[in-house]
Amino acid sequence: MSLDLRIPMGLMFSLLGIILTGFGLATNGSPIYNASLGINVNEWWGIVLFVFGATMYILGRRGQKRQASLPPEPVDNTRSRLGH
């Protein structure tokens, strides 16, 4: 079909993960983490998001490669529309 959503979505979450992890590492031990119970949420959650994003991106690319090698899928045009 057209654009596989997993590619831009994976890209976005990967970038998001990189930004958060990077910022988390840069501010490690800063008092801003008092609110989050001393846990460096930016770093940890950033890693989680990056893994999610990368997985989506890889799945998307694989899906796209598979689509490109298949014959075009038959579109559901068999029955003419009722009414109108």
């Binding site: 079909m1 979505m9 949420v41 930016n42 529309r81 009722l82």
Partner: protein, 608 residues
């Protein structure tokens, strides 16, 4: 209070760039009106499934469920269990063969095929109006929240702009972004962005719930911090006085589950359009079932922040007295505003803007601003960085509500109003252009609604009320239309009007206990009191449904039905079974439905 740094802005910018980027990337695939309005009917089931619930995940869900969680506790989960899940299973297994199989391009068009032109016109007009107003309400709620959280204050200050412009800025920003990506990519763009927003909400709220639970001492700690009734979904539901929402089981089961839940999930084009964009019938039937799975899990993401907010200790103004090395005595006072102090947990009290004192309920307790439960949780736990993510997730949920409404509007306007009554027989390119301009028009109308909501305080409540009058009877019409071949257009038309009238009548004659006659009901005269406005809502839905059902049946029996040949594919008894026999048993929609049902029952037992 809110200190946004460049990281937060970077994250928000990243999101907007991708949202628009996806729109631009999809533009070249928009070749026909089918591509634009129906996503080419070519999307995979998992994308449509996630968009199906995401279309519903607007302002109401995220903020509102948090507010309900703070006010009523776990019983709010009923909205998901009783209201949505059975309805979603029903629409997937039983109704989708007709919606998708009829190849109708919209829900009103299905009514035209099954019933007649006037039924379609009634539904199309009321739906178009409601959906544009809903979009405007989303816009308004988003702008208000941005104001209340002072999100853009820092930015405006830096740019030297007056803070009064924040409301307008928020509205224009959301309008421009949604307009751009729908104008370019149509329904596909809306669906893709809804899926993106779904994952963003998980990304923003899961860490919040985890942190909150850890802070309060896990599940046991939460149980100890909130009233016992909050932690049970079903206990005490037999009678109105024994549960926080004041509803009894018949009102709950029938009203919420059957009528309101089905009225929305089975007939609202806002969600149905995402299922109709699937690539084939089996996928279309799976879509609501796939959507039901995260729908069962989402309560934890959006209701728990509300529960946690109430359970956390209420901040108080404290003074710490310390003695310096030189013998001086220091008093350090941490001042907490009256608003926060008079509240409960992280939920502030509502302050009367004139007197500056907290507003009180009829029993003299401070009136709590439950809508602030979830936003205050975000501000309390999230440092800068992930805070930007949390706010972006909130913005995304508002915008997805708008986008779904706008695509539903432009489809219904172009196909059901414009093509049917104003300019039939035009070229496909013409209708695609009309669709794009309808998007502009729809957003413009939404903006007007958002501004009207400022001047007319009760507009949101009034609109919700009107929508409930129109929506409540709908399900009866579709039920009869799809499963009773004898139902006629005259019956459907009269039934719909009667149902709406019944809802209005019921509202005018009843009143919840703690309210005054007016917007809450009783504007004709008060014949009956309900323990809460929710209960009134549910019973009103039951009356509307029943009235519609009975009248439709009577009028149908008195009028001539369409010949059976015209109803093939539109009514259950006249439609050949969809071919799912060639799929392995676990891939069949029915198997998925059973799995979802078992899961829902298990969850309800766990939280009894």
């Amino acid at each position: 209070m809110l200190n946004l740094t460049s990281v937060d802005w970077l994250i928000m910018l990243l999101y907007f760039v991708f949202v628009l980027g996806i729109g631009f990337a999809l533009k070249r695939y928009m070749k026909t009106s089918k591509d634009f309005f129906q996503a080419g009917r070519a999307l995979p089931a998992w994308i449509c499934g996630l968009a199906f619930i995401s279309a519903n995940l607007g302002a109401q869900e995220v903020i509102g469920m948090g507010a309900s969680g703070a006010k009523y506790g776990l019983e709010t989960a009923h909205f998901y269990g009783i209201g949505a899940i059975p309805a979603m299973i029903f629409v997937g297994i039983f109704m989708m063969p007709f919606y998708y199989g009829s190849k109708a391009r919209s829900v009103p068009e299905f009514l035209r095929m099954r019933f007649d032109e006037k039924t379609r016109a009634l539904n199309a007009c009321s739906f178009a109006v409601m959906t544009v107003f809903s979009s405007g309400i989303s816009m308004y709620a988003m702008a208000r929240l941005i104001q209340a959280l002072h999100v853009f204050d820092g930015l405006f200050h830096m740019l030297g702009w007056a803070p009064e412009g924040i409301f307008t800025f928020s509205i224009i920003l959301s309008a421009v972004i949604v307009l751009a990506y729908i104008f370019l990519g149509g329904l596909t763009s809306a669906i893709y962005n809804e899926v993106l927003q779904f994952f963003l909400i998980i990304a923003g709220f899961l860490p919040l719930v985890l942190l909150g639970l850890r802070n309060i001492g896990g599940w046991a700690g939460l149980k100890a911090s909130v009233p016992a009734a909050y932690m049970h979904e079903w206990k005490g539901v037999a009678h109105a006085s024994t549960n926080p929402m004041g509803i009894e089981i018949i009102g709950l089961g029938m009203g919420l589950g059957f009528v309101l839940g089905s009225g929305y999930w089975c007939t609202d084009f806002l969600v149905i359009q995402t299922a109709m964009a699937s690539k084939n019938m089996a996928a279309a039937r799976r879509v609501p079932l796939i959507a039901a799975v995260p729908k069962m899990v989402f309560p934890f993401l959006v209701i728990l922040p509300g529960l946690l907010a109430i359970g956390l200790p209420t901040p108080h103004t404290t003074t710490v007295i310390t003695r310096g090395a030189d013998g001086a005595i220091y008093h350090t006072t941490n001042v907490v505003s009256a608003q926060a102090e008079q509240g409960r947990g992280l939920v502030p009290a509502k302050i009367n803007p004139v007197t500056g004192k907290p507003m009180l309920t009829a029993s003299g307790q401070p009136l709590l601003d439950y809508d602030m439960a979830t936003p205050n949780m975000l501000l309390h736990f999230f440092p800068t960085g992930i805070l930007g993510l949390g706010l972006t997730a909130l913005l995304a949920s508002f915008m997805s509500g708008m986008a779904g409404n706008v695509t539903a509007f432009n489809t219904v306007f172009t196909y059901d109003l414009y093509q049917s009554y104003i300019h039939p027989g035009g070229t496909d390119k013409h209708y695609m252009a009309v669709g794009r301009w309808a998007t502009v028009g729809g957003i413009a109308l939404s903006i007007c609604t958002a501004y009207a909501a400022i001047s007319f305080n009760n507009i949101m409540d009034t609109l919700q009320l009107v929508f409930s009058f129109v929506n409540a009877p709908l399900f009866a019409t579709f039920l009869l239309g799809m499963f009773w071949k004898r139902a006629t257009g005259h019956g459907a038309f009269v039934g719909l009007i009667t149902g709406t009238a019944a809802a209005m009548l019921h509202h005018g004659l009843t009143l919840p206990i703690e309210a005054n006659p007016g917007i809450h009901g009783g504007w004709i005269t008060v014949v009956h009191h309900y323990p809460s406005d929710m209960a009134q809502n549910f019973w009103g839905a039951i009356f509307a449904f029943s009235a519609n059902f009975i009248v439709t049946v009577i009028v149908s029996l008195m009028t001539k039905a369409k010949p059976e040949s015209e109803l093939v594919g539109l009514v259950h008894s006249l439609t050949p079974k969809p071919p799912s026999e060639n799929l392995s048993w676990w891939r069949r929609p029915e198997a998925l439905a059973v799995g979802v049902l078992l899961g829902a029952v298990a969850l309800n037992i766990f939280f009894y």
